[in-house]
Amino acid sequence: MKAQMTKTALALLAALGTQAVNAGQLTIESWRVDDKDLWEQEVIPAFNKANPGIEVSFSPTAPTEYNASLNTRLAGGTAGDLITCRPFDVSLELYNKGHLADIKDLESMSNFSDVAKGAWQTDDGSASYCMPMASVIHGYFYNTEIFEELGLDVPETEADFFAVMDKIKAESKYTPLALGTNDGWETHQIVYTGIGPNYWKGEEGRKALISGDAKMTDANFVAPLAQMAKLGDYLSRGYEAQTYGDSQNLFALGRAAIYPAGSWDIAHFNTNADFKLGAFKPPVPASGDQCYISDHTDIGLGINPKSENRADAEVFLSWLASKEFAELYTNKVTGFFSLSDHQISIDDPVAAEMIGWRQQCESTIRLNAQVLNRGRDDLETTFWNAGQGVINGTMTAEDAAAKVQSILDK
């Protein structure tokens, strides 16, 4: 018995010994709690097929906690090897503190466009600290069955949009729009920066705001807020206490017709809703106007310089830039669109529809993501409170814009 155990132990040791040549362990920090299964069952096994011997674990933290707890872990030296990067300043700050390695010279970085890389570069472009992974696109989802039942067409202009919602409100038991203001962030990140680019002309307006040539109180920045002020009438009763999860459920259960969405919601509704999902882009002010969409560079992946497996981490990043990953990620993690230049095919019809908007419309990123969020006051949360206040009717569009501008002025 004892001899047998010794044998087994020796065999195990031998097995370990052969692997130990390049066996590394990598831990990925992320806020994508929803994707845990996909990473563990699809992405990591695919990576291991090409690169056996590197053990990767995916360890996500809830989105609202992520920045704070990652900071704490990085400062304490307990963070993982690979860091999922928020775009722009949050990651730039990490890089400046020495918590992200410069990966500009990684060969695989050439697979990404400058726009994609721009979200994770120093202002002068001299260093890149995260590999672009995916962007999200914003628009509206609709329940095709409700639209058919009521004989509705997909709205093109703002006027169409409100006509459609009026009709749903007057002629059916459905809630026109599944949106709540309890959490606040949707009102800004999905609604305001989703519908707004049509008014401030995408990049043009965004850059003017950064340079100071435009002000939040200008008509083209107030107009989307004014549109939001009208939304309150079309939400379900008590929307002030409706959470993001409530909105998702309301729409998935078929009780609401339209849902302001980020493309990441596709995966959720594919599993939770039993009707056919449709998507339309944010309505333009007038028929024939050039359309703009919020195509937000949202996720990157960088290396923790304190990682003990730097070489393995670089192997993982190189694989991240491959066509294989682009195809796998875009199709499995539905709603996140790979940023690499590879030509890939997309299976999901709604995801294909949304990525198709890139051809019809001009892309821009979320209004305040770049540069503007810098400074002591938290512009982002001010925007959330502004969106919340405008939809709740406790703040006028003009006051909300003025409040945001007062912070920009500092």
Partner: protein, 306 residues
């Protein structure tokens, strides 16, 4: 027999473990926080002494101080609701429970005390569901008694969110004042009550003029415990409204304000030094409250030898 006046080593031996643990886990972190609040730091983590600069920022700076004063004022409202609702209800329940021939007193006692034992996360989740305008039962219940019109998204409105959260907290913690008051009511000697009864005092008069003065020290204790608990509160707000304490910071109290300052939130990054300042201010507020209580209230309380 040993020599009188020998150094009492046994006292040292008995005190040391407690002293050690208290110093390590309570006194030292508190002291360190107070020290840190006088420092400032830059992006690289280098720290330097900055005197009262942080305090000036938190208390007076036009941009930053608004958040602090808002949180402090909300915290006072939160405390006030507890004093005005939780403690009177606790007193009433304790008085009812101490009635001699109340049937099922033990079951009531256990049931009312039960929520105190539950995790705040569970309490927050349950009440969010109960009050949810979409799936909650409260609208249906109000409908059943013909008051559906009074239903509102209480947790989501600036005007009512803080009050609602305070009442949820009252519901959870009402068992503690009840138990403390109940215990001191039981400690009142029978002879006193019998004497009052023989003298012809009505039950109400016995309560107001015999029992209540005797339990006043306990009421004072309950109030100061509530004060300390409320000004350290954080968990319920965080569980229900998140770190942003919305809508529009209307449910922001010192605990959640501290969390955002120390750990950061979304695009704003946390600052350990500024966070320490907020934590020190919380400590000072509580210290001031407790001192006021000891000097103005405790000393005037008349204790009766029972």
């Amino acid at each position: 027999m040993t020599k009188a006046g020998r150094f009492p080593w046994h006292i040292v031996v008995f005190v040391l473990p407690g002293f050690f643990i208290y110093t390590l886990f309570s006194a030292w972190p508190l002291l360190d926080t107070l020290i840190l609040s006088f420092f400032d730091q830059n992006d690289t983590g280098a720290r330097w002494f900055s005197g009262l600069d942080n305090y000036r920022l938190v208390l007076l700076d036009p941009d930053l101080s608004a958040g602090f004063w808002n949180a402090l004022w909300n915290n006072f409202k939160f405390f006030l609701v507890h004093v005005l609702v939780q403690n009177p209800i606790g007193l009433m329940l304790a008085a009812l429970l101490s009635l001699k021939d109340l049937r099922g007193a033990r079951s009531y006692r256990t049931l009312i005390f039960m929520p105190t034992l539950l995790s705040v996360v569970i309490i927050g989740f349950i009440w969010q569901l109960i009050l949810s305008p979409l799936w909650g039962v409260s609208e249906t219940l109000l409908e059943a008694i013909g008051m559906a019109n009074y239903f509102d998204a209480w947790l989501g409105k600036e005007s009512s969110a803080l009050l609602t959260l305070a009442l949820i907290s009252v519901w959870q913690f009402v068992g503690i004042p009840m138990m403390l008051i109940y215990a001191s009511l039981l400690a009142i000697p029978e002879e006193l009550l019998d004497a009052a009864y023989v003298d012809g005092a009505s039950p109400l008069r016995i309560f107001w003029q015999i029992k209540l003065p005797l339990i006043l020290p306990t009421l004072g204790l309950v109030t100061i415990l509530t004060f300390i608990g409320n000004f350290n509160a954080f968990d319920l707000i965080y569980a229900v409204k998140g770190a942003l304490a919305g809508p529009n910071f209307s449910t922001d109290i010192l605990g959640s304000f501290f969390y955002r300052t120390f750990f950061g939130f979304q695009s704003s990054l946390g600052s350990p030094t500024l966070g320490s300042t907020v934590a020190s201010l919380m400590f000072l507020v509580i210290l001031a409250g407790v001192m006021v209580y000891f000097w103005l209230v405790q000393r005037r309380l008349h204790r009766y030898q029972l």
